[in-house]
Symmetry: C2
Subunit: 77 residues, 2 copies
């Protein structure tokens, strides 16, 4: 099985934790020793396993920041 190398360069924050104790984190991660990208995904305790997630470039994260800043989240509840 191929090995996926990654390094969590910086943990930017945690968004929440689910019933199994996995936490949804925003990190800056270098995959296979390439330039780090922003990453939002679930992690098991101690980062022993990772769930599915999404990887974003700096431009995409900036677009996400602007998009969320312009949304009234209460209007969806």
């Amino acid at each position: 099985m191929a090995e996926l190398k990654y390094e969590i360069v910086e943990n930017l924050g945690t968004l929440g934790e689910n019933a199994r104790g996995w936490s949804k984190e925003v990190n800056l991660i270098s995959w296979n020793e390439k330039e780090p990208k922003y990453d939002i995904r679930d992690w098991a305790p101690d980062h022993s396993r990772m769930g599915k997630g999404v990887t974003l470039t700096a431009d995409e994260l900036a677009a996400l920041k602007d998009l969320l800043a312009g949304i009234d989240l209460d209007s969806f509840e």
Copy 2:
């Protein structure tokens, strides 16, 4: 093969497009007719196929909004 039913309740915006023409979107999606959740993932043109992504509750999206609002993105470039 099991069928995954989903409905895009609202498209909140697009963060970017990759070289293959897939776009990274933020949507409010109802999966299997359950209560809709926020969702960040890549989509093929016309939403004909979906890539991996992350699903967030309203609380997690609010936490993400606050987290990004407090980050100076330029400091990571």
